[in-house]
Symmetry: C2
Amino acid sequence: MKVLVIGANGQIGKHLVSFIQENDKLEARAMIRDEKQAPYFKELGAEIAVVDLEDEIEAIAKAADGVDAIVFTAGSGPNTGKDKTLMIDLDAAVKTMEAAKEAKVKRYIMISSFDTTREAIQSAPESFAPYVVAKHYADEWLKSTNLDYTIIHPGLLTNDSGKNKVELATTVARGEVPREDIARVIVESLINDSTIGKEFQVVGGSTPVEEAVKSV
Amino acid sequence: MKVLVIGANGQIGKHLVSFIQENDKLEARAMIRDEKQAPYFKELGAEIAVVDLEDEIEAIAKAADGVDAIVFTAGSGPNTGKDKTLMIDLDAAVKTMEAAKEAKVKRYIMISSFDTTREAIQSAPESFAPYVVAKHYADEWLKSTNLDYTIIHPGLLTNDSGKNKVELATTVARGEVPREDIARVIVESLINDSTIGKEFQVVGGSTPVEEAVKSV
């Protein structure tokens, strides 16, 4: 199963490509914006596609040619300019879904924000609300497509070492979660078709990732 | 026919409420953010609803109670902060559509931007693209609802006096158009059900507004 990792050079993306390359069932194509970011991924034996997410859908579709799944883990982050929130977290996300259709890739995994519901928008602090709005509409768009989607809603991301243990359910109490463990959750989601059509929140916890994802 | 004008205190909105009040078939409820904006509309004999578009859907639905149509002519404009672009041009617009459903209002007229297609997003200058993205998704959301929508795409808006003459079609060449004439186009769209399910661009031209709208 070949997986296009969009946002590969991000912190989750780097862990993810590494885990994919370690997994016998999976191989990665790292989508990066700049050729200079390539060495890390080449060293892991991953394929490379250099595409700017602000390019046209066709460029993304070309990068997705021949893959079996797409993971969207790109993000402007909540602290970039709000213009990038609109262009990346919403519009680029939707463009990758359209690219998936063009490239006839059915499987799509979205790394969303912890809570993208209407209630979360209304109760978010003013500076954070636009980010939640962008993620909300990207998630809604994905759910309206015919893609075999999974939407992963991580808690507060940390750079702590992963514990390979999480709490994972439709809704869980807010909490932190290492980016490394989110990358593990993505890998398990890719190899468990029971996650198709599902969305769930993930924070640090006590259940092994493999078991937690199977329980979805 | 009672019409809730959202963004009544904007420059198109003020013309629109005035034209609605002059029309025997129509009456206006002006939705404004601040009670201080009320005197202009009270003088015209319009009803008033004071609601902030960043409030919850229920507050907007309450303002829409008992009306027959909603016109969305609010806008952060292309020159406000991009956070407001996300919160008003996209999210508030969608909230008013959800409010329309809750209040069982079927007719909905959106004042969009001149070109909100994917091609327009890709070719827009970097500073303008986020605004086009926000309007694009609001339009797409509207088209996915069961509302009896009309989407009006005005050319470059000016404060010139209206001429009551326009060029209006699915696509027209870029050009200027007075806000006053867009308000006239909205009024004619409200009273012509042939505009339901349609979207069209409008610039200044030589066809009387009434005739132009009927030709849609």
